[in-house]
């Protein structure tokens, strides 16, 4: 009888191993984020967090909801593929509340695309700043929404 009993030190060892494994199992279940492994070996909720950022640019579609007249004008001319917010700046706040104005336009915006640079494609209309009516403002002669027309 005596010899077939499990030695008490072994019982203690088995209990200790079970305790360690149990702690590990509980820790793993509880500390692994719920969405871990949803799409791959990472936290699925990270996608939600990346998508939760506030919008700053509204997108051209949102502009079209109110400014369809300007769109009609723009569609006939060379600037038809230029997005509204390229010049008018981020407009999400304006789209939600029309009292918030968009950024003030200056000739600097025209120059950013139209000043001469050897790296620009030849099809791009380019001017040399010191030769092309340096004392006048761009909109003195040009209509930004219909660049083929002049005042």
């Amino acid at each position: 009888m005596q010899s077939s009993r499990v030695p008490p030190q072994l019982v203690r060892l088995i209990l200790l191993v079970l305790l360690i494994l149990g702690t590990y199992a509980i820790a793993r279940v509880n500390l692994t984020p719920k969405t871990f492994g949803q799409y791959g070996h990472y936290r699925g909720a990270a996608l939600d967090e990346a998508a939760a950022r506030q919008l700053v640019f509204a997108g051209t579609k949102a502009c079209n909801e109110c400014h369809d007249e300007t769109f009609a004008k723009l569609a006939k001319d060379r600037h038809k593929n230029v997005g509204c917010e390229t010049c008018h700046g981020p407009s999400r706040a304006h789209a939600r509340n029309p009292d918030v104005t968009t950024q003030k336009l200056t000739g600097e915006f025209c120059v950013r695309c139209h000043v001469a640079d050897p790296a620009r494609p030849a099809a791009q209309k380019q001017i040399k700043l010191h030769e092309h009516f340096p004392s006048d403002s761009c909109i003195g002669c040009h209509v930004a929404h219909q660049p083929n027309q002049s005042k």
Binding site: H41, Y42, A46, L47, D48
Partner: protein
């Protein structure tokens, strides 16, 4: 010397630790409920990342180097305003003519990107008669299929999403900077405020809501072409771009398999 802790005390500590662990399943939903009340929703309802495959491509022949994309990216993603932090930027390549009498095919390539090209480019110092050719190249994350940044991250904070974007989980990122060194395209930086690695997310908050990335939205010449490979539209600009152009990837010898395709770039572009 203090007496060694009694068995009772050790067992008590162990039990309270286990109790704390066991109470976590209750604490987590409570925390999530509070978080949901405070923050706006994440992925918009109905958006399934496994049903999309986003891609952005570049046509260097169309880029005029105006810097609208760089500016828009900074504003949309609240990228640190100071120079040196960019999720996208523009490089100007000026290839010089070979020196007279030399047998070289072409001369030195002068590459600059002042402030990422955010406010356009100042006149180049290279005299016009020395220029063989010149062009702009917009750069951003190459969305590699075998992304070295994900492989280098020791904590698994960088990963590929099912819809084709490489993202950083800022709650996992420890700010070690290995990914910044690993990226062969220089597309990552350490955010000086959060001390976590940051990169282009392809405007994940916009594309999941059916909008285009901010840089694509403002590009006046459609040099950036964006689309969904899994849901091509009728006159899909991305499909058209891929079919019509002879396209390249950057540094193909590294085996990173970039998904971003470039048309009309030259051999000097890295």
């Amino acid at each position: 010397m203090s007496p060694s802790p009694s068995r009772r005390r050790v067992l008590g500590l162990l039990a309270s630790g286990l109790g704390w662990l066991a109470s976590m399943p209750l604490a987590r939903p409570a925390k999530a409920a509070v978080k949901n009340l405070l923050a706006s929703a994440g992925l918009p309802p109905g958006y399934d990342p496994t049903k999309h495959q986003w891609l952005i491509c570049m046509d260097a022949d169309k880029c005029i180097g105006c810097g609208s994309c760089v500016d828009a990216c900074k504003l949309e993603n609240k990228v640190p305003q100071s120079s040196g932090y960019f999720r996208t930027w523009i490089e100007r390549y000026i290839i010089k003519k070979p020196a007279p009498g030399s047998t070289a095919l072409r001369g030195e390539a002068v590459v600059d990107s002042p402030n990422g090209g955010r406010r356009g480019f100042p006149p180049t110092l290279v005299p016009r008669e020395e220029i063989l050719k010149a062009f702009f190249v917009p750069k951003l994350c190459n969305l590699c299929e075998h992304s070295p940044c994900s492989q280098a991250c020791p904590v698994g904070a960088t990963f590929d999403t099912p819809d084709g974007v490489v993202l950083v989980d800022p709650t996992y990122c420890i700010g070690c900077g290995f990914c910044i060194q690993a990226c062969p395209y220089g597309c990552r930086f350490m955010n000086p405020e959060t001390h976590t690695a940051e990169k282009c997310t392809l405007c994940y908050h916009r594309i999941t809501r059916g909008l285009r990335p901010a840089c694509v939205e403002v590009c006046p010449t459609q040099a950036r072409i964006f689309g969904d490979l899994k849901n091509p539209t009728e006159k899909d600009p991305l499909q058209e771009f891929i079919h019509k152009n002879k396209v390249f990837t950057l540094k193909p010898h590294l085996g990173t398999e970039p998904r971003v395709l470039y048309a009309n770039i030259d051999k000097e572009v890295r």
